[in-house]
């Protein structure tokens, strides 16, 4: 007969014992070798041989692509991959990019799937430091600009590029000038117009904080945010409340919002009633560059098939499908853009950027300081 009372006690007890013992252990065993600075250093694992991957018979293999909730492809796109290679792909989606990477770190070595798509440059080092990926240099990288390959050891492969930028409602700036720079938002003309997201809970919010760090430096960004706060800044927890509620998709009480460089294209595509011109404008000098990567998860039982999926993610078929579904730009130079993109949006020439190593080392410190300046 089972005794839940006996089972329960060890569970609660073990939690408490674990707490006390690990606090003792942790004193003498702080893991400093996992320093952010080492994140782009050469990995120990040799990785997947591209020639072997290309030649192996992978027909009939079933693999799993782990990704975030924003992942979207056209109908039947993955069937094209199955037809070409004989590999069946199951898509597992879980939460936002932060949650996706945390889950990958938690299950490092015993992954839930075979390939992960959706880790970006702001989270890259977190994944690399936890040995989440196994290296694979895809031959398809030939069509991808070198500048996007942040990890030269090919643990991750760049798949798409996007910018987080300030957006403004064009209708609100017919008689007055729209914002042109970050500094503009601190002037009286833009008092009470700006809504952004909390960088502790939102990925565009974090990207925008990083933009201000890139622009004003590690010691100057707090001063900028103080001025924003004094100028009537509104902060929401997530993009949805900022863009759809406060900004009202361009019709709300707030007229400037932190969103994406491609918002005008989405505005055109999903306009109701249909539009000929986007109603949303982008402030080009405020853009922070986000590069999204995919990688083969270390511990996969199907490394060759996983490698073939990475090749496919860089193929023209997949790359040309990206913009209209995920509203970011393909990493592959040769991929053509849909007309809503060519007419209304572009990747800015000089985005704001920060080194992923620096982001990993400092982001918790920056977001904490941001919280002190903006929310306290």
């Amino acid at each position: 007969m089972s005794h839940p009372s006996r089972r329960r006690t060890p569970f609660l007890l073990s939690a408490l014992v674990a707490l006390s013992t690990t606090s003792l252990v942790a004193c003498g065993n702080d893991t400093t070798n996992r320093n952010a600075a080492n994140c782009l250093a050469a990995p120990t694992s040799a990785g997947i041989d591209p020639v072997a991957a290309a030649n192996k018979d992978v027909r009939g293999t079933e693999i799993t692509l782990v990704t975030h909730d924003s992942f979207a492809v056209s109908k039947g796109l993955l069937d094209a991959f199955t037809k070409e290679t004989g590999i069946t792909v199951t898509v597992l989606q879980s939460g936002d990019a932060g949650q996706l990477v945390s889950q990958a770190v938690l299950t490092a070595g015993k992954p839930v799937g075979d390939v992960l798509f959706g880790i970006d440059n702001t989270l890259l080092c977190r994944g690399l430091l936890a040995d989440v990926f196994t290296p694979y240099a895809s031959p398809a990288l030939a069509d991808v600009p070198d500048a996007l390959e942040l990890d030269t050891h090919h643990r991750v492969t760049p798949v798409d590029v996007g910018d987080v930028c300030l957006n403004y409602a064009k209708a609100a700036f017919v008689r007055s000038a729209p914002p042109m720079s970050l500094d503009d938002l601190t002037t009286p003309a833009f008092k009470g117009t700006f809504v952004t997201e909390n960088p502790e809970t939102s990925s565009p919010g974090l990207a925008f904080l990083l933009a201000t760090v890139a622009k004003y430096g590690e010691n100057g960004f707090e001063g900028y945010w103080k001025k924003l706060r004094a100028n009537g800044l509104e902060v929401t927890s997530g993009w949805e409340q900022a863009y759809n509620e406060s900004f009202g998709g361009g019709k709300g009480p707030r007229t400037v919002v932190t969103s994406y460089a491609t918002s005008p294209a989405a505005d055109l595509m999903f306009a109701d009633p249909p539009l000929t011109e986007p109603t949303i404008g982008v402030v080009e000098d405020t853009c922070f560059r986000q590069i999204e990567f995919a990688g083969v998860l270390a511990g996969t039982k199907h490394p060759e098939a996983a490698a073939r999926l990475i090749d496919f993610l860089l193929s023209k078929t997949f790359q040309e499908d990206i913009p209209a579904n995920m509203f970011v730009f393909p990493a592959n130079d040769k991929a053509a853009l849909p007309k809503e993109f060519t007419s209304s949006v572009k990747l800015v020439a000089k985005p704001l950027t920060l080194d992923p190593v620096q982001i990993e080392a400092k982001r918790d410190d920056w977001t904490s300081r941001w919280t002190n300046v903006v929310l306290r």
């Binding site: 329960r8 939690a15 299950t107 999903f270 209209a324």
Partner: protein, 552 residues
């Protein structure tokens, strides 16, 4: 307890292999899908690999600020919910009127509404009444959080307390009145003591929901508010700091365990043993004043609860510059450029399938546990009673991430199985089933059982013919509730990696996650469809028990 007449003693009425099965089922369920995963993820957080020291987390003032806020907002939300919910519970439990069962069904509507929608509805209501600025402003205040909690949780009070209230024999109240007791005296001497166990039950559930509030805090409260739940989420998913998350999860568990022990004990102590259980038809309000009272209570409650739904409907119908059904039509086919991999309407099917599975699991596990709690050995019952409530107060991230690292080996590699979604939902559904059935079973008139036994009925026949019919009706209410909970997708499911079967709340979030007004409209339309389906399903589940009346 009376040892000479074991057959008549409810505490001994369950024995042998039946007791073993009834005990083993909930214990195994809890151990495998809750205790083991949670212990694993906490152990992983404290294994010394983290960037911070566990003791430092407890030493920080901000940690205790969060604990304090979490605690007091949950207590105040619970009291407010009881205050708003009791009149409504009285109206539907003690009065027969047309549409009564619909009222009972409609109160669950806010339960399945995504927080984003309720949050948006509140904000637009504040703006409409000028409460979004000035001295009286409510937007982004703690009042807004409390208000949202009341809206979400009134259903718990109406259902648990109302269901129990129905079993109070109206003749008892009538007798007291005839003997000259005032309304207040009747309440104090008869009704309130009788309701106490149900009040404790409802209060526990509401408290645990508010204690682990997540979406309401982030969406309605804004970025300056944090509870243990939002902090665990932030540290685990946004900062990948499993150490801090684990320490906070332990703090959360400690509070929840204490709360659950206190409340289950109080519920047990206050259990009515005076034998008044009876399902009798409620009287129709006769006087004009009585009718007015019921009408006002019902009208106010429904207005209050259905306001978010009104906003949802309005937005789902808003097309271009007018109104129309375009968004509903769009649900039927997968737009080639949309955030979903399937047509939105598929999500409805996914939600329904998962909810049916989850409800089945919750009812089976919850009912067997209830019989053990009431009819098994005393210590065993108490531990089981309290233990099964704990998951309701455990952070969804802790459980979701726990399942991810604990259930990763065959034969239990359930991480990517589609069954994991209904299982995770059932963990939250079980406490509902139990909170309804346990107080019911406890107060079944002992004389009923005795009479049956005297007439030669075996203990199992007593259970079949006395206990089950009485519980059956409550169980239907509990099942309806568990079903609504699964549809609204509370719990850990958001933190599991899920196969490509988005449920409605997931689909709504995805549609809302992209710019474009038509996608927003589709999300709202999907929300309306979900609400309609919930109401119909809950109504059907409950009507299934109609006509079965038990009593003398």
């Amino acid at each position: 307890m009376d040892e000479r007449r074991p057959a008549l003693n409810p505490r001994a009425s369950l024995r042998g292999w039946r007791l073993f099965v009834a005990t083993a089922l909930p214990v195994a369920f809890l151990a495998l899908f809750f205790a083991y995963p949670v212990a694993s993820v906490i152990a992983r957080g404290l294994d010394g690999r983290g960037r911070v020291h566990p003791a430092d987390v407890l030493g920080q003032a901000t940690t205790w600020h969060v604990v304090w806020f979490t605690l007091w907002q949950a207590v105040v939300s619970t009291l407010l919910t009881l205050a708003v919910g009791l009149p409504a519970a009285w109206a539907v439990a003690r009065n027969e009127f047309r549409g009564r069962s619909w009222v009972r069904t409609l109160v669950v509507v806010p339960f399945v509404m995504p927080t984003v929608v309720v949050g948006a509805a509140l904000r637009s209501a504040f703006a409409r009444f000028g409460l979004d600025h000035g001295t009286l402003h409510l937007d982004r205040t703690v009042w807004a959080i409390l208000l949202a909690h009341v809206i979400f949780n009134v259903a718990v009070v109406v259902r648990i307390v109302g269901g129990y209230w129905e079993t109070l024999d109206p003749r008892l109240v009538e007798a007291a009145r005839t003997l000259g007791a005032s309304r207040r005296q009747v309440w104090r001497a008869v009704t309130f003591p009788h309701l106490k166990p149900a009040l404790w039950s409802a209060a526990t559930v509401v408290f645990l929901f508010c204690f682990t509030s997540f979406g309401v805090i982030l969406v309605v409260g804004g970025p300056t508010r944090a509870t243990l739940e939002t902090e665990i989420w932030r540290f685990a998913t946004q900062r990948t700091d499993f150490t801090t998350a684990a320490v906070l999860a332990i703090v959360q568990l400690v509070f929840v365990v204490v709360m659950v022990i206190v409340s289950t004990r109080a519920e047990r102590r206050t259990a009515a043993s005076i034998g008044i259980a009876r399902l009798a038809p409620a009287p129709r309000p006769r006087t004009r004043a009585a009718k007015a009272r019921v009408a006002v209570v019902v009208a106010l409650t429904l207005t209050f609860l259905l306001l978010p739904l009104a906003v949802l409907v309005e937005r789902s119908l808003s097309v271009g510059n007018g109104y129309g059904l375009e968004h509903y039509r769009a649900l039927m086919h997968r737009d080639d450029q949309s955030a979903l991999l399937v047509p939105p309407i598929e999500a409805v099917k996914n939600s329904l399938v998962a909810a049916i599975e989850a409800t089945t699991i919750a009812v089976i596990v919850g009912t067997s546990a209830s019989f053990v709690v009431v009819g098994g050995r005393r210590a065993l019952g108490r531990v089981l009673d309290a233990s099964l409530m704990v998951p309701l107060g455990t952070s969804a991230v802790t459980l979701g991430f726990g399942i991810l690292i604990a259930l990763d080996e065959p034969p239990l590699d359930l991480r990517t199985s589609h069954l994991i979604v209904p299982i995770a939902q059932a963990i939250v559904g079980v406490p509902f089933v139990m909170r309804v059935t346990v107080p019911m079973l406890r107060q079944i008139d002992e004389r009923l059982r005795e009479v049956a036994a005297t007439l030669g009925a075996s203990p199992s026949r007593v259970r079949r013919e006395i206990d089950l019919p009485i519980v059956g009706r409550a169980l239907a209410a509990a099942a309806g509730f568990a079903f609504a909970v699964s549809l609204g997708e509370f719990g850990a499911t958001a933190f599991l990696a899920r196969p490509d079967r988005p449920t409605v709340p997931v689909a709504m979030y995805r549609l809302l996650g992209q710019p474009g007004s038509s996608l927003r409209g589709q999300a709202m339309a999907l929300g309306v469809v979900l609400t309609a389906i919930t109401v119909v399903c809950v109504a059907v589940i409950e009507r299934a028990q109609r006509g079965r009346r038990v009593g003398w």
